[in-house]
């Protein structure tokens, strides 16, 4: 492996002179090596890793698996949160727009699917005379949910994105609350506090054991339960989203976002149509949130307003900030920690031989998240896996150039 030779001397005072060059610890070496790989090689190296991540709930590794709850279900939830984190990352991390009402888009996506496919909704399309088939209703409703969520992003964004950062934060917070209150109060359509039940899900893999298919919430036992299937489905959606968002980042749109985030006025002067690109970020972020909401509605087969509290918005933001805003892999890690850690402790009575009261620790999760956020902001404000902000603006070429320089230095 040649990448070991490219390790630059770290921590020396000389490195501060070339601060813009991506030299640093192990993370930077890894990043440098990865980014210099050709696209097909990246897929070749990445695929086994993705397969390993996908198989986690099936492998049931002894310490990693959860005790109190089904590991498959936890991973399915992680999938949804990862999608949300990727979407929110576009808005917060890429374009630098602080959105505290992201849960609103998640809710719109979930409710679109639920309203179209739940028998308790007045606009149900899965029954007699509806234009959705019973078996494929969820899949058909998914693009509709995405479209409607994107539209809600447009509707919210077009008047509010002219506001500055802090104002935007509070207006989006208000929007998130309004969506929840609408869901709570428009009883005839959304079922109010009772919610909508029996939401459609993909009916495939029907067997004698699982009469409703592997995606049904009824298939909850065994290693290959519905949670695992939803997790796999979400991994597919995450990969598609990652490729799409990654391409956007490297395009003119992505460079405009970085420019807006770094200095909006300068970007505007340089000819970037800031409002239009901010709106793009909002709409794209919103539609990804809509996908996640649709996943949620399908998996749980039930939506009600309490799942879309503003506190969830804050939790989503935690995932993005914890992982490292602007970095796609970072925010996925953040989402994993947010979902996994409380579930890890749930029901656990001992950890590595030390007796602990895991359920109580899981109960205290907001306390720990709060402390973690405060500590993180002091010691590592850029998140666990930070993004190289300056480099992002230049694109791929810089990594190749940097690597050549690093080789020369090492020689």
């Amino acid at each position: 492996m040649s990448e070991t030779r490219t390790t630059p001397p770290t921590g020396t005072p000389a490195s501060s002179k070339v601060a813009d060059r991506p030299h640093g610890g192990l993370g930077d070496t890894l990043r440098l090596w990865w980014d210099a790989l050709a696209r097909p090689t990246q897929w070749l190296v990445g695929s086994p890793f993705i397969v390993f991540i996908a198989l986690l709930p099936v492998l049931n590794l002894p310490v990693l698996t959860t005790v109190g709850t089904n590991f498959g279900a936890v991973m399915a939830q992680f999938g949804m949160y990862a999608l949300i984190a990727i979407g929110l990352n576009v808005v917060v991390g890429q374009a630098g727009l602080l959105d505290l009402g992201y849960v609103g888009f998640y809710a719109v996506g979930a409710y679109t699917v639920a309203i179209l496919t739940s028998p308790s909704s007045p606009w149900n399309q899965t029954g007699d005379g509806g234009w959705l088939s019973r078996d494929w209703a969820w899949l058909a409703a998914l693009p509709i949910a995405v479209a409607i969520t994107a539209m809600s992003g447009l509707i919210l964004g077009s008047p509010t994105l002219r506001l500055r950062g802090d104002y935007l934060a509070i207006v989006t917070l208000g929007f998130g609350e309004i969506v929840r209150l609408l869901a709570d109060n428009l009883d005839e359509v959304t079922g109010g506090g009772r919610g909508l039940s029996q939401v459609a899900y993909p009916r495939i893999g029907i067997s004698e054991e699982n009469t409703n298919g592997v995606f049904s919430a009824g298939a909850s036992s065994g290693t290959l339960n519905s949670g695992v299937w939803w997790y796999w489905l979400s991994i597919v959606l995450i990969l598609i989203t990652l490729v799409a968002v990654g391409n956007l980042e490297r395009s003119r749109v992505g460079r405009s976002w970085v420019a807006i985030r770094e200095d909006e006025d300068a970007a505007e002067i340089m000819g970037v149509p800031t409002f239009r690109f901010k709106l793009w970020a909002f709409v794209i972020g919103a539609s990804i949130g809509g996908v996640s909401g649709a996943l949620y509605a399908g998996q749980v087969q039930f939506v009600n307003p309490t799942n879309f509290n503003v506190i969830n918005s804050v939790l989503f933001l935690c995932a993005v900030v914890l992982g490292g805003q602007g970095n796609k892999l970072g925010v996925i890690l953040g989402a994993f920690l947010i979902v996994y850690l409380p579930n890890f402790f749930l029901g656990r009575t001992e950890l590595l031989g030390i007796p602990i009261n895991g359920t109580e620790i899981a109960e205290f999760r907001y306390l720990f998240f709060g402390i973690a956020l405060m500590v993180l902001m002091v010691f590592r404000p850029q998140g666990l896996i930070p993004v190289r902000q300056k480099l992002l603006a230049y694109g791929r070429e810089i990594y190749l150039a940097a690597r050549r320089t690093a080789r020369k230095d090492a020689a």
């Binding site: 509070i170 309004i178 428009l186 359509v189 804050v314 907001y366 709060g370 956020l373």
Partner: protein
Amino acid sequence: MTGELIHALTVADPLVGFDTAALVDNFWALTVDGLTYGSVYALVAVGYTLVYGVLRLINFAHSEVFMLGMFGQYAVLMMLGFAPSGNAYNLGVTMTVVYLAIALVGGMAVSGGVAVGLERVAYRPLRKRGAQPLAFLITAIGASFVLQEFVHFILPRLTGDRLGGVNAQQPIRLVVPETQFTLFTANITNVTIIIILSALILALATDMFINRTKFGRGIRAVAQDPVTATLMGVSRERIIVLTFLIGGLLAGAAALLYTLRVPNGIIYSGGFILGIKAFCAAVLGGIGNLRGALLGGLLLGVMENYGQVLFGTEWRDVVAFVLLIAVLMVRPTGILGESLARSRA
């Protein structure tokens, strides 16, 4: 979005009621009740607005400062021997006022202490490191979680389940609402009088403090230009602590007044929505602007009450947020504009 929403609200008749008759009939009663809520919003909003003016920071945890103020005054009353039974006490005017004053001091002390502690523990390390604005906001959210969960889980353990926990506290009712006189068909109760009068006095005192005293001038100077203010001999750190202290004290006072109006509201999550509303009020009036915060609070309280009757109780919060969005569309820096420094008029 506002246009669409109002359109949807008014056209979708079976979904949302539109009761103009109720609004006209109860106009004055609603206005007075709105002013009582508005006074509380206004006092809390001052905390947001002062901190924003000086530090350009949304102190997201200010709602928890308010919440702890509610627990503070409650704890003081418990220490004075009042049992949380939910029954009303009848102590006579003088003793009630004395006990209320003690509770007020208790609430203000707790809130002020928490606000200053928050600044010390959470924000000062960030300032020393020159962190990004977003880092401050995230820290504020983190601190908000910590304070809420402290009351949720840890406080009941410390006090033997007498304070905090999942459920709201049993109210200690020192004042029972009784109609004192009628003004334009509105019944004015003793609670209303206490709330509006105290809020008015506190607001005037704060305005005087900011605009007339040496410390106030320091706050305005730092808000206007921190570097020049430091060169002129103003200690920025002291001014920041002072700002948090004033915000905290007012939040503590607001906490007592709020519990007079809503006795069942003492719960760990009780600050959250009220904090958001108060922040809305601050933005509505022009954040960073003291008089703007007071005006925004009163306006929000009144409008919310009108909207609640017009559309139904369940739309109360929607009205507040839609109002905020509508005002920001027309005046992006709030009704009275932004600057704390230029607010002295």
